[in-house]
Symmetry: C2
Subunit: 210 residues, 2 copies
């Protein structure tokens, strides 16, 4: 889909930035981070390379922009939750909606950013910061929403964080992946954890039925 050149002339800088990030997302998802060149990215955004560089000076800067946009979207979901009269219900609802409605492109982009984080120090630092912020937010929220002193926010996050990541991997790598069943389990564990009723860890010794 080509974009009329007039788009470039119209619109405010924020709208242009959004337009460029949409184009970069599409290009990274289709070609991967390393095969996409700045020229490809400018072409995808229907902009001259000179103008394009005025907004983002490198592919890394575009990845930073995409990660920041994802963070802003997360912040809006959090605001929605905070405004709700039923914060716990809102959290469950938002998580379910997020994982069921995520597009394959968004999941592929996440995988691409993670993969790049394993080698690119700037993206690694960004990823580590995002992970730490996410952990802090979730554990604080679990503490606030717990309905039992037996709720252990750190334990609940240690369980749910990889489960959430794995749902995104499934969505990215398997075109016919249905996140529904995993999201139902995520939901159940979240409720159970907040109520302090997560299954107990098995300690030494043979299992009761073993």
């Amino acid at each position: 889909m080509s974009i009329p050149a007039s788009v470039e002339a119209r619109g405010n800088p924020a709208a242009r930035r959004e337009h460029i990030l949409d184009a970069a997302e599409a290009c990274f998802v289709r070609n991967g981070f390393h095969r996409a060149t700045m020229q490809d990215l400018a072409r995808e955004a229907a902009m001259s390379p000179g103008n394009f560089y005025r907004y983002f000076e490198s592919k890394e800067a575009l990845v930073v922009g995409l990660v920041e946009r994802e963070r802003e979207r997360g912040a809006r979901l959090v605001e929605e939750m905070e405004r709700s009269g039923d914060r716990r219900g809102a959290l469950l609802d938002i998580i379910a909606r997020y994982f069921v409605s995520i597009t394959r492109a968004a999941a592929v982009l996440r995988l691409e950013v993670w993969s790049e984080a394993t080698r690119n120090p700037a993206i690694a630092a960004l990823t580590a910061r995002t992970e730490a912020e996410t952990r802090d937010w979730f554990t604080a929220t679990f503490s606030a929403l717990a309905t039992s002193p037996d709720c252990d926010p750190d334990r609940l996050y240690a369980l749910l964080a990889p489960l959430m990541k794995g749902i995104l991997v499934g969505r990215a790598i398997l075109p016919d992946y249905d996140p529904g069943p995993a999201v139902t389990e995520l939901h159940t564990l979240l409720e159970t954890g907040l109520d302090g009723r997560l299954p107990r860890a098995v300690t030494a010794g043979p299992p009761p039925n073993g």
Copy 2:
């Protein structure tokens, strides 16, 4: 670390294949799939390009070789379990050992293969086949090891598959990631699931304490 050229002349074809796969793994992990060229890969294996091509004709063929090697390693773990007098204990032990002892390089390679699967049809087909085989093996094993008719192997796999993937992502993207707590939760859910005691899914209506 350079390998003496004499390595190339010595050894049987199977040993050379292993040596090449080790070199390819190191090179893909360090540079990513797309930045590694066949020349880089031959150099890493301390082989002439001509000789190198006799073993693997493309980067895709190397990825297929690496995925097959991973599958063979999995098959050996399964044999170990089958030989054990306590299959359930052996399964729990093998899973715990696998996720706690996996190297960061192995986790990064897995992320690289997943990322490549989102765009490369041959790698996508290989990934889909591996995922289907893994699912079939786990659900059949859960059925065989269940200690309660309330164990639902499909439900248990829908929960554990993303959790296992997410642990690998954590290991790959966060150098200081400790898989211990997540593996403890995985263990607990596996035992609980086989005993038919997974927490129940929440149905419509407000939560009991909400």
